[in-house]
Subunit: 404 residues, 2 copies
């Protein structure tokens, strides 16, 4: 394989799932920069440790960063320990509460533990920085220079700010600092590429602008922006977010992770493969159910292990058979208030309509075909409804009832 | 005289010419604060040394500050050496150019030399501060706290900013810092009263607000604002300003100062007495011309000496008689291109129509009634027009011509 086709493959991988790379002109594009650079590029990803728990939505950019590492470049992960105290106002409908330094430190620690599952932390491929390192040293003079580089009109034109201004929702002056400080991070670490969600375009452009204006850089080219999609959550509609409950957390147990992922809406499955795995999309199974299972197996395998993933799959199937999944909303329900307690099991099975007669019920019980929450049950008598309430009563493989 | 009537007189003097004092409620007013305070109050005046030359417009606040000094309080004059590098955007239709530290230092020196003509610089009555002293020490954290205290909407509602925003004239982000930094000066020097023009109300209120929010002040009362009118310039219409040319500079020569002031529009004379002198307004002459002269004498006397003022008055009268004032716009003109040079004086006087015949001209010259720019002239011959161009030729007390 020639060097240039290697490069093509590489660029193809680096561009997988990417929404936009800028600039992208004939004379100024990332492919050329990669090819012509005599050193590894410095790929910036800034993270805002306002939330201690990562979910798959966070991994889209982290995985892209890992792909750059694998291609020989250097990941520069910036913990926004300083900026977290402001909070990125991007896309927010109101000002964020400011975090204390202790909260930020705790969140950053947790974040890094989880990021280790994705990034290569070897020292030649990875640089960890905290932006307090340079932002705490800025004096008023430098801050004025930063602020003088932009106008109120440019800021208010930014999505989010414009909505809030029009609605009369307060925008505090320090929120205008956020894009400038994120931009200054690019100057401070000398970024060649900055990764971010599509909602980060403005902030990344500010970084380019500040790099171009910075006198110490002596006309070095400014960073490229590489924009990634915001991952849609399990509801198939909104951006994945902990507060919306439509997320898969990186610290989720294998079974919980698997169960959520095998039910990803069909419309999202290909996108999830593209953004959350390295699997060649041409090799995916046609059957939608099989696709979901492969996705769930692959992702659980990444964050736990292939063995844990297989175990989770088995457990999930067992639970589905037992009718005891959190999501079995379509199981018919049976109201226990119709039953006089104490009541024998055979009577219950008959009264609930799962068998036509007491004798059929008796015989199914003896055959081991009657289960409660997946467990075979011999004939016995229940003293009161509370022993059964919420459980799934099953006869054979096809008849289920949730007792309520 | 009892102590309380002393106080009344004092308050009357301190309130002379004042447009507004705030707050001014029954429970919170400056009179009470003065009466109840067991120490001299700290009276803040911030100056922005963006212009090296002071004019009478600047003296309105400086004179008020001196009145507080004379009443036993302490003047705290803040040289905005730091903020001058931003420039107060108040009332500006566009962003100001940022000054270099050298320009600021030069302007501040010049300002102080001139302010000495008005303020008492004795150490027990005067404190000179430069706001770089505390503003240079602010870090980003503190600046964020300052900025978080106000919203974009509050800033954009401010006169000047709102006009610019509506017109689409760029407002640079650092301009929003100015009111906050001026306000922080009040925190830093622990001001009890801040003086300023009526256009400073917003900035002074920001200072009150920051003082109230400052935790180190432990609930001390915040500063009063004392607003003074903007002095209308010699044109009778616009605010006095060097760039509009309608000003009297503090370093103007006595004669120049006198000549400008004796022509102050009648509608402004009382205001000028009120704001620029201590003279009891009840004692002013009725005759408008006499009033103007008294005003000119008084002000030249303040900034030079009573003797210099009298001399300026005499010189000015002499010049008016000689017809050589800068303002004699109604003197008829005579076009020298009608004359063949070289030309004797008597011929010129006749040709210009100031005498009916050469012999009358000759006799007037001999009587000493012919003057050029106020100087008696014997008969002589002029070689070319350039010797005469722009000068006023006068015969007796009533006939004038400007030679062009």
């Amino acid at each position: 394989m020639s060097q240039s086709s290697n490069l093509t493959n590489l660029t193809t991988l680096l561009e997988r799932g990417v929404v936009e790379i800028f600039p992208d002109s004939e004379t100024d594009n990332l492919g050329d920069r990669i090819q012509k650079s005599d050193r590894p590029l410095r790929i910036k990803l800034g993270i805002d440790p306002t939330r201690p728990d990562l979910h798959l939505g966070h991994t889209v950019a982290l995985r892209k960063l890992r792909q750059f590492q694998d291609a020989g470049h250097k990941a520069v992960l910036i913990i926004g320990d300083f900026t977290a105290q402001i909070g990125d106002p991007t896309g927010r409908s109101e000002a964020r509460p400011r975090l204390t330094p202790e909260e930020v430190a705790y969140n950053a620690e947790t974040y890094l533990e989880q990021a280790k599952k994705i990034l290569d932390f070897s020292s030649d491929r990875f640089e960890l920085r905290r932006n307090g390192e340079w932002l705490n040293k800025l004096d008023l003079q430098q801050i004025i220079t930063l602020q003088a580089s932009m106008t109120v009109g440019q800021m208010l034109a930014k999505e989010g700010f414009s909505d809030r201004y029009e609605k009369g929702t307060p925008i505090y002056l320090h929120e205008f600092l956020y894009p400038l400080l994120q931009g200054y991070d690019s100057v401070a670490i000398d970024a060649d590429v900055e990764l971010g969600g599509t909602d980060q375009k403005f902030n990344i452009l500010v970084g380019r602008d500040l790099q171009l204006k910075d006198k110490n850089r002596q006309g070095q080219p400014a960073q490229f922006g590489l924009l990634l999609p915001l991952l849609v959550g399990l509801d198939g509609v909104q951006k994945m977010s902990k507060s919306l409950g439509n997320y898969v957390g990186l610290t989720d147990e294998p079974l919980s992770m698997y169960s959520k992922l095998e039910k990803v809406p069909d419309a999202l499955v290909d996108k999830y493969f593209e953004l959350l795995t390295d699997i060649d999309l041409a090799t995916l199974p046609q059957n939608p159910r099989e696709k979901q299972k492969q996705l769930a197996l692959a992702i659980v395998g990444q964050y736990h292990s292939p063995e844990a993933a297989l175990q989770a799959q088995q457990d999930a199937e067992q639970i589905v058979l037992a009718g005891n999944t959190a999501d079995l909303g379509d199981i018919p329900e049976f109201d226990l208030s119709q039953i006089n307690f104490p009541a024998p099991l055979r009577y219950l099975v008959k009264a609930a309509g799962l068998c036509k007669s007491n004798s059929e019920a008796q015989s199914q019980i003896e055959n081991g075909a009657v289960k409660l929450d997946g467990e075979k049950l011999g004939d016995r008598t229940f003293a009161e409804a509370s022993e059964l309430s919420g459980k799934v009563l099953q006869v054979g493989k096809k008849k289920f009832l949730r007792l309520l």
